[in-house]
């Protein structure tokens, strides 16, 4: 039986494996070298691969990320770390106007094979400028791919897939999952991005969740099961490309769907997925597609206020009961 690994270790293993396999993979970020990363997420890489491949950047997110793009265009496969997702705003121009557009602008002759790896997470008491997830923003930009892993095993295989992908991939890690363990899984190691997973089978409703919301969906499903409602949980794993076929197939069997995300509800991931289901599975639906997201506020630092920001198992269960 495969060993249990934490989410943090899952990503780190992927980095070790891909860096050993391909000398063009480099890692760039703040304190990622000898220090091993502020979350110990890059521990040991510097010792094995040295300063030419594990590059400690100054606190210059815009320039350093722009350089990662240039390096990618010139044949490297950089993994670029942005310590907190909130700081991605400093990379926005490079991300949106350069990385995302190069393949299109070059008519397919140039690619930007890089991974922007960043963290997010509501619930650690880090407040308005250290909690936010920008996966929905990024998903709106043509040319980017968006991955949001929900457990350690997926974190490992999806990071490997992201590094091998020839497009710019944004990899969003929820820090609240970092210590969570799962069994390492090699089965879908060579899958490209864009394949979702059914995590729990059920006949009554489909819960569509990404990242940490998968755990929330699981807890809600257990609660609902005690009442005789069997929820299916589907994790699309990447938002772009989106495994529409898997989602539609599930919804056509359960006839109900609830989409959830830990980022603000307004104009977010849930609205997009709900629209896809409504447009493409309308005739199979017995209720409007439901959605739950974070409240539309910055993330407050107070524990009691913060605990209210994201969907909880109780709220998910209540929303499902309403649509039955």
């Amino acid at each position: 039986m495969a060993e249990m690994i934490t989410f943090r270790e899952g990503v780190l293993e992927a980095l070790f494996e891909e860096m050993r396999a391909d000398p063009s993979v480099i890692l760039m970020g703040e304190d990622v070298g000898a220090a091993g990363g502020v979350f110990q997420q890059t521990k040991g890489l510097f010792e094995e691969f040295g300063a030419r491949r594990i590059i400690d950047t100054p606190i210059s997110e815009s320039g350093a990320f722009g350089m990662a793009i240039g390096a990618a265009m010139a044949g490297m496969r950089p993994v670029f770390e942005v310590m907190f997702g909130d700081f991605m705003t400093l990379c926005m121009d490079q991300l949106v106007n350069q990385a995302a557009k190069v393949r299109y602008m070059s008519n397919g002759a140039a690619t930007v094979p890089l991974v922007l790896r960043t963290t997010m997470g509501v619930g650690a008491g880090l407040g308005p400028q250290h909690s936010q997830g920008f996966h929905a923003w990024a998903a709106h930009v043509p040319g980017l791919k968006i991955v949001v892993p929900s457990d350690a095993a997926d974190a490992r295989v999806l990071m490997k897939a992201a590094i091998r992908d020839d497009d710019p991939v944004l990899f969003f890690e929820d820090r609240l999952l970092y210590a969570a363990k799962a069994q390492a899984r090699d089965a879908d190691e060579s899958l490209p991005l864009g394949r979702g997973r059914i995590l729990r089978a059920g006949r009554d409703v489909t819960l569509i969740a990404i990242g940490r919301m998968v755990g929330v969906a699981r807890a809600a499903a257990e609660e609902l099961a005690r009442e005789g409602i069997e929820a299916e949980i589907v994790d699309p794993r990447s938002l772009v490309p989106l495994d529409e076929a898997l989602l539609l197939d599930s919804v056509k069997r359960t006839h109900r769907a609830l989409v959830m995300d830990a980022a603000p509800l307004r104009y977010g991931v849930t609205g997009e997925v709900a629209a896809v289901l409504s447009e493409k599975a309308f005739d199979w639906l017995d209720a409007p597609v439901g959605r739950l997201g974070a409240v539309d506020t910055p993330v407050p630092i107070s524990r009691s206020l913060e605990s209210f920001v994201c969907p909880t198992p109780a709220r998910v269960a209540a929303a499902v009961r309403k649509m039955m």
Partner: protein
């Protein structure tokens, strides 16, 4: 910057520098750029160019002096006034012009236009619609070259306007701490859009912007192709020897205004006349004749040949079809 630091307009190159170069190739390439740009100007006036086009007539010596000093494997990153860089780096002019007109056979399939030409097979990381946007791309290509140990150098071109983008300073700092093989080339044509460089640029000099990072920084007569070439060769030697980045400030002049059609009311006639007297083509032609590298007749023949080439490119690009609708959604992702 104060009036006392107004840019030097004089030449002052040492004739000994750069004489081993293929002088006629430098001349021919500059001439090709000039004829190309003047054709684009006419096409723009006739409403045939979608989007904005920014012409580099007047800046040919800077374009050619730098790019023709590079090896084929070296990278460049250009900016919005970048046709000359593309031509010097070898993009065929018919495909470049078709791109500027948004036509199917354009080098990028007619989807990118003047400001977004990417020609990676020729190691051109692209012209760029974002002021300063190409700077980190070149620095990153230099980082890749250093990581691989393959010895290529990367050049980023930018205008004086980009001096005030934080991105430049971030990248200069990183290039310096990592001794990257990158050459920063500021094409200082005195204006960013309609604003004089001096009015928006603080500090004792432009060079100081590089010197503060310990980057060897020189001011170069950007109207003199040999002076630019000599400074580039110095910088290349340093880069290839692992001695890190250099900063060249090339003082030059754009004839045509910010974009094709700009009336340039913000420039005074005296200033324009002074710079026109330094036209890189006229002055270099005189030098070539004086050095007996070519006769006036031979230069006239070159010009005829270049004019014919550009005329053919114009005919090709104008006759070329629009991209097929089926290409619209291609190459967003792999």
């Amino acid at each position: 910057m104060g009036a006392s630091t107004k840019r030097a307009v004089s030449g002052g190159l040492s004739e000994a520098q750069g004489v081993s170069e293929d002088s006629l190739r430098l001349y021919r390439t500059m001439l090709l750029i000039r004829h190309f740009e003047e054709s684009v100007r006419r096409l723009a006036a006739a409403g045939e160019t979608p989007g904005l086009v920014h012409l580099c007539s007047g800046q040919e010596a800077t374009n050619v002096g730098v790019v023709l000093a590079l090896a084929e494997g070296d990278y460049i990153a250009s900016h919005h006034r970048g046709h000359g860089h593309c031509i010097a780096k070898g993009t065929p002019i018919d495909l470049l012009l078709a791109e500027i007109l948004g036509k199917a056979p354009g080098i990028c399939g007619g989807r990118s236009g003047s400001m977004h030409v990417v020609d990676l097979p020729r190691r051109n990381l692209g012209t760029n619609g974002i002021v300063g946007g190409g700077i980190p791309l070149a620095a990153g290509a230099a980082l890749a070259a250093r990581a691989r140990g393959t010895g290529e150098v990367a050049v980023c071109f930018f205008g004086d306007g980009a001096l005030n983008q934080g991105l430049l300073h971030e990248c200069m700092n990183m290039a310096a701490i990592w001794s990257l093989p990158v050459i920063f080339v500021c094409e200082n044509n005195g204006y960013g859009e309609f604003t004089a460089m001096e009015d928006v640029t603080a500090g004792p000099s432009i060079n100081a912007r590089g010197e503060v990072f310990g980057i060897p920084s020189v001011t170069v007569d950007g109207m003199n192709v040999r002076a630019v070439r000599a400074a580039t060769l110095d910088a290349l030697a340093r880069a290839r020897a692992g001695q890190g980045p250099s900063f060249l400030v090339c003082n030059t002049w754009r004839y045509g205004g910010h974009h094709a059609g700009d009336k340039q009311d913000y420039k005074d006639d005296e200033e324009t006349k002074r710079w026109q007297a330094l036209d890189p083509l006229i002055t270099f032609a005189k030098t070539l004749v004086a050095e007996k590298r070519a006769t006036e007749d031979e230069l006239a023949l070159i010009e005829e040949e270049v004019a014919r080439q550009v005329k053919e490119a114009v005919a090709f690009a104008r006759a070329a079809p629009q991209p097929a609708l089926e290409t619209l959604e291609l190459h967003v992702h792999g």
